[in-house]
């Protein structure tokens, strides 16, 4: 392999073959992918679920992850949120001319590691190389198929009286990316929460817990998930503000820049609506996972303000939690 990816690597010829063999197949190879056919032949799945997602992140490498890890977690997590075990993924990569091969390999190695966590395989792939300046380093798309282990999980199954649980402290990914992207020159030990969620969901399902809805709180954060759930069911979600877990680092960054932790993105944090009777066991299981020690019951589904999310402060005042809008920008003073 040459040191940088050139347009020749996307030509379909010898250089293209070298790129695929030396980087992608080397790390991601498996029985299905190695056949090198035009389409992957898959075993029959009972109750298949399917999802797709594209990934662009700047910087490509951030504390706690990189675009490789993110592109596997993102798609696998969407499957997990439907109670489906991730099984087979496709991988499409669009690479900017001049991208360092060493970096690409590092990204692919992250993918490999994360696929193992999910017990999933890349079964089909594609690479394109485009002229410098037409993409920002590297864009990735993954599409995944999984097998539903517990039917009946979905937004429309949320009921009045359901408990709302969040799997860990919120806002880490958004805060990490903001700090590393905007040249604020802040020193921070903060790491993204970027992680695969299937292991946690599998443990919950294995113990007999049957969540009514699961959603990973990615872009738009906790606020977006709760608002979407409230709106979809014309129910109210009442949240105790003080119960929402937020790390000191994230809270500090929000204080300095005027952000709300509830509006910041997460990449390894999910929200769950479930029967309140199942909450103690669910929290016990989640707390056993590294990073999820702060899993918490944060609210209840009611009918008081249909379609809205209400935050209650520790001193008894109440306000709406709105859907975040627009670009994330620091307040002026």
């Amino acid at each position: 392999m040459t040191k940088t990816i050139t347009l020749a690597h996307g030509n379909g010829g010898a250089e293209n073959q070298a790129l695929i063999h030396d980087i992608f197949w080397k790390h991601l190879g498996n029985e299905i992918l190695d056949r090198g056919e035009d389409a992957a032949l898959l075993p029959t799945l009972k109750n298949p679920a399917m999802t797709t997602d594209s990934f662009t992140v700047s910087p490509l490498f951030f504390p706690g992850g990189d675009i490789g890890k993110l592109s596997i977690c993102g798609t696998c997590n969407d499957l997990a949120m439907m109670g489906a075990a991730p099984k087979y993924l496709t991988l499409s990569v669009i690479i900017e001319e001049g991208f360092e091969a060493r970096k690409l390999e590092r990204i692919v190695r992250s993918m490999k590691k994360e696929l193992a966590t999910n017990d999933a395989l890349i079964v089909s792939g594609d690479t394109k190389v485009v002229p410098k300046g037409t993409v920002d380093g590297l864009f990735v798309n993954t599409t995944g198929i999984g097998e539903v282990r517990a039917p009946g999980i979905g937004v429309h199954n949320i009921q009045e009286g359901d408990a709302i649980v969040v799997s860990r402290d919120i806002g880490r990914h958004g805060a990490t990316i903001f700090v590393s992207r905007e040249g604020l020159e802040m020193q921070s030990a903060l790491q993204s929460d970027c992680a695969s969620l299937w292991p946690q969901v599998a443990s919950l399902l294995d113990s007999g817990i049957r969540p009514h809805a699961l959603r990973d709180a990615t872009r738009g954060g906790l606020a977006a998930v709760l608002n979407e759930w409230a709106a979809a069911n014309e129910l109210c979600i009442e949240v105790e503000e003080g119960a929402i877990p937020v790390s000191e680092e994230v809270r500090g960054i929000c204080e300095m820049l005027g952000f709300e932790p509830t509006a910041l993105a997460n990449e390894g944090t999910f929200v769950m609506a479930l029967d309140p009777a199942e909450v103690p066991m669910a929290l016990e299981i989640l707390e056993g996972f590294p990073g999820c020690e702060s899993a918490a019951l944060i609210g209840t589904v009611t009918t008081s303000h249909p379609g809205r999310v209400v935050l209650e402060s520790a001193w008894g005042t109440r306000r709406f939690l709105e859907l975040p809008t627009g670009e994330l920008l620091p307040r002026i003073c």
Partner: protein
């Protein structure tokens, strides 16, 4: 010595027991009043605190808040935003400004829109970060669109001083700094013909505190002395605002009318004299500045001194920057809201034609404006 952490700066000031205790004291004190007291919190930061923490819900019915004009983004008239837009669209210009400003729509669109149409628009957390952008782009003209009250003016001055020292010749400034006392005076003592027919219902002020860190609490002396309106300069945390309200109510029950400082941990009567000198070196009063929702207010803003015309974007780009006035939207009642004559919810376009995504008037522009805060946080009763 205990290591001071960031959370020490806010945890105690959000202590639920303290907030509840202050609420009880305000109720007790307000019960002695035989009238309603309307308190204007001038600064958008205070509006944000009051709405975000639901402090209105902790007040007795005879204590009301009027949300003031102290949000530099909200009061920026379309004319000035259009300047920023036009400058940003110049081929060789990088337009730099502070965060929130990017979303605010002018008549041609917002700076965000300019960016999507190919303009190079960047936001910085500190004006001094602009220096680096200027150094990294020697073949570009960097225009810093300077906004904010007395709080942010010294940072603009410091940026100009640094650029001067470094001999940077590609950094220009478009100055939109505004000052607080003039607009307060305008609200209670309307001299402008256009708004002469209005009264106001402001009984007292919570004084902007970060403004006072720089300018000193002394700038509010005239309000108790000349206008009979007590002022308490308060901090921005919920406990600060609650204590500030209590101090104001006590002035009424004890028949006093004074300037007091609640935010003693940061504010002095004199302020930051070095910063004041730095501001004076580069800036002077602008005879007239238009405030969105309030119209033209004399001496309420700053401009670069004439000797700095060589870095004044307004002078350099004079030929392409329009000076025609753009009328505020006819249905918008921001002016009445700012004088305490109306509540945001009384406006017929509130939440319908006018929303934070598509603001018609100044109060809907940022979360520090009264309408946007009402829209965002609602006004839920216990």
């Amino acid at each position: 010595m205990k290591k001071l952490e960031l959370k020490n700066l806010y945890d105690d000031f959000r202590d639920p027991a303290t907030i509840k205790a202050l609420s009880a004291l305000i109720h007790e004190e307000a019960a002695k009043l035989d009238r309603d007291i309307r308190i204007m919190e001038v600064c958008g930061g205070h509006t944000h605190t009051i709405m975000k923490y639901g402090l209105k819900q902790l007040m007795p019915p005879n204590i009301r808040f009027i949300h003031g004009p102290g949000c530099p983004v909200c009061i920026m008239p379309k004319e000035r935003i259009d300047h920023a837009y036009i400058l940003a669209m110049q081929e060789d210009v990088i337009l730099v400004t502070l965060g929130d400003m990017i979303k605010v729509p002018g008549s041609k669109g917002s700076l965000q829109d300019a960016r999507s149409r190919g303009a190079d628009v960047r936001f910085v957390y500190s004006p001094l970060d602009t220096i680096k952008i200027a150094q990294e782009n020697p073949d570009k003209r960097i225009v810093f669109f300077a906004i904010g009250f007395e709080t942010t003016t010294p940072m603009s001055a410091a940026m100009i001083a640094r650029a001067e020292k470094l001999g940077l010749d590609n950094l220009l400034v478009h100055v939109n700094h505004v000052t607080v006392p003039e607009v307060m005076r305008e609200l209670i003592d309307s001299r402008d013909e256009h708004i002469d027919s209005y009264n106001n219902r402001i009984d007292a002020f919570i004084g902007p505190s970060h403004v006072s860190v720089i300018a000193g609490a002394k700038i509010y002396k005239e309000f108790p002395e000349k206008y009979g309106r007590p002022v308490v300069v308060s901090g921005f945390e919920p406990v600060d605002v609650m204590e500030g309200v209590l101090m104001l109510v006590r002035q009424f029950t004890q028949d006093r009318c004074e300037l007091e400082i609640q935010y003693r941990r940061s504010v002095t009567m004199e302020g930051n004299v070095a910063a004041q000198k730095q501001i004076e070196r580069y800036f002077e009063k602008r005879p007239l500045f238009k405030w969105r929702g309030l119209g033209n207010i004399p001496d309420s803003a700053l401009k670069l001194r004439d000797e700095y015309a060589s870095i004044d974007a307004e002078a350099i780009y004079r030929d392409i920057l329009p000076i025609e006035e753009i009328e505020d939207h006819k249905l918008c009642i921001c002016g009445d809201i700012l004088r305490g004559m109306a509540e945001p919810t009384e406006c017929q376009v509130f939440g319908t034609a006018c929303t934070p995504q598509k603001p018609l008037g100044s109060c809907m522009v940022s979360s520090e404006g009264a309408c946007a805060a009402y829209y965002k946080y609602g006004d839920l009763l216990k």
